[in-house]
């Protein structure tokens, strides 16, 4: 059987496609934002707080890193209502992606904090910096530069995880395109378009990451 490629499948539903792509990007950015904020908070708490809080956060990180994103999403979206937490698919998707990402971001930030040389912190303490000042003025600027590659990688991983959200009916790119595919029985066109869109997204994100890496690279102490 010859494979037929009918571009009208895609051009006919261009508005729907664009909307799906926009949703993917919105969910992605939302998830990354939430993940970074929570992840950063966790990393700070791990530095400042005592053993018990640290152990609790460790468990949090291990749970989110040790279970599949799909299962986490199911717990949040289908299991949430049993606990009185009913979320729209889109909200559940963004929150789920954020929580999943937060565990990985927390680890990236933590490794960043520990990679700043001990001598720098001691020097700052000798100069009379408070604990907060040491973090904000010595550790943070340096570690942000160091962890740029790790952050880029995480952000790219999360962009691909957004495809999983189609399973809980978030109207993002995969959901829209597979919908069109089954409707018109045109899997060649839709799946090909899906691959191209994600490849472009990932390529763009990694280029942007490299650009940032070069830009901030000059602040690295050698």
């Amino acid at each position: 059987m010859a494979i037929q490629f009918d571009p009208s499948v895609l051009t006919d539903s261009l508005p729907a496609l664009a909307e799906g792509f926009a949703t993917t990007i919105a969910v992605w950015i939302g998830g990354v934002m939430i993940g970074m904020v929570i992840g950063f908070a966790i990393a700070l708490l791990q530095i400042f707080c005592g053993t018990w809080v640290r152990r609790f956060l460790r468990v949090y990180i291990e749970i989110f890193r040790g279970t599949p994103f799909l299962v986490q999403l199911f717990v949040l979206y289908y299991g949430g209502p049993s606990l009185g937490l009913s979320l729209e698919p889109l909200t559940a998707g963004i929150v789920g992606l954020g929580l999943y990402g937060s565990a990985y971001f927390a680890e990236a930030f933590r490794s960043g904090f520990t990679s700043v040389p001990r001598g720098h912190i001691e020097a700052a303490e000798c100069l009379g910096f408070t604990r907060l000042q040491v973090i904000m003025r010595v550790q943070l600027p340096q570690m942000l530069v160091i962890i740029v590659p790790a952050l880029t990688n995480l952000i790219i991983v999360l962009s691909k995880e957004t495809a999983v959200l189609s399973v809980v009916t978030v109207p993002e790119l995969t959901f829209v395109l597979t919908g069109i595919g089954s409707e018109r029985f045109a899997f060649v066109e839709t799946l090909l378009a899906l691959c191209v869109c994600y490849l472009a997204l990932v390529e763009l994100a990694s280029r942007a990451g490299q650009w940032v890496e070069v830009r901030v690279g000059r602040f690295l102490t050698r």
Partner: protein, 216 residues
Amino acid sequence: MFSLHALLDALPYLIKAAQATVLISLVGLVVGFVVAIAVCSARLSKNRFVSKLGGAYVGFFRGVPLLVQLLLTYYFLPFIGINVPPLVAAAAAVSLCEAAYLAEILRGGFIGIPHGQLEAAQLLGLSRLHAVLRIQVPQALRMTTPSLVNEMVMLVKASSLISVVGVADITRTAQNIAASTYRPLEAYVAAGLVYLVINGALSLAGHRAERRMARA
């Protein structure tokens, strides 16, 4: 409210379904590793065309979500006349995707070996194959053990996506339990626990292997 009873009821089914998850992950690891060796050698090849080809493979399989790759094998293959059972299609997709990640890890390991060692091996009269097998591979494996273990955990988690194309793994079974008992929270939390146990065991074994190799 959360019912511990429902959770405990779901566990036996999920543990049984864990076989499918472990099986797919194992197939993905073994087949993926074999393909990864080919892809990695292609990427390290001196032939520009071959190394570009390897790069394109890695770029595609790491740039497209695994879910999309699964959908590709699931919808696309029957469409062009190749009929395979869902389990086989899923295993193939997972293996090919895994190969891309493993190839990059292995490449990192091989690049990390100082070039002088190969030259020394040549001077000592070792054949090329001998040098690769006895000098490069053991070191590359030892250096990449942490990443390989990490990748195995990622693989077990990624295998949950095969539930979408209908393979009865842990996630799919949890869905079925949720549908028949109307207790999705307990079913999915139980599924999460099973995954945690598998991944916990994996990383524990990984740490052991790391320590043993560090001594060697």
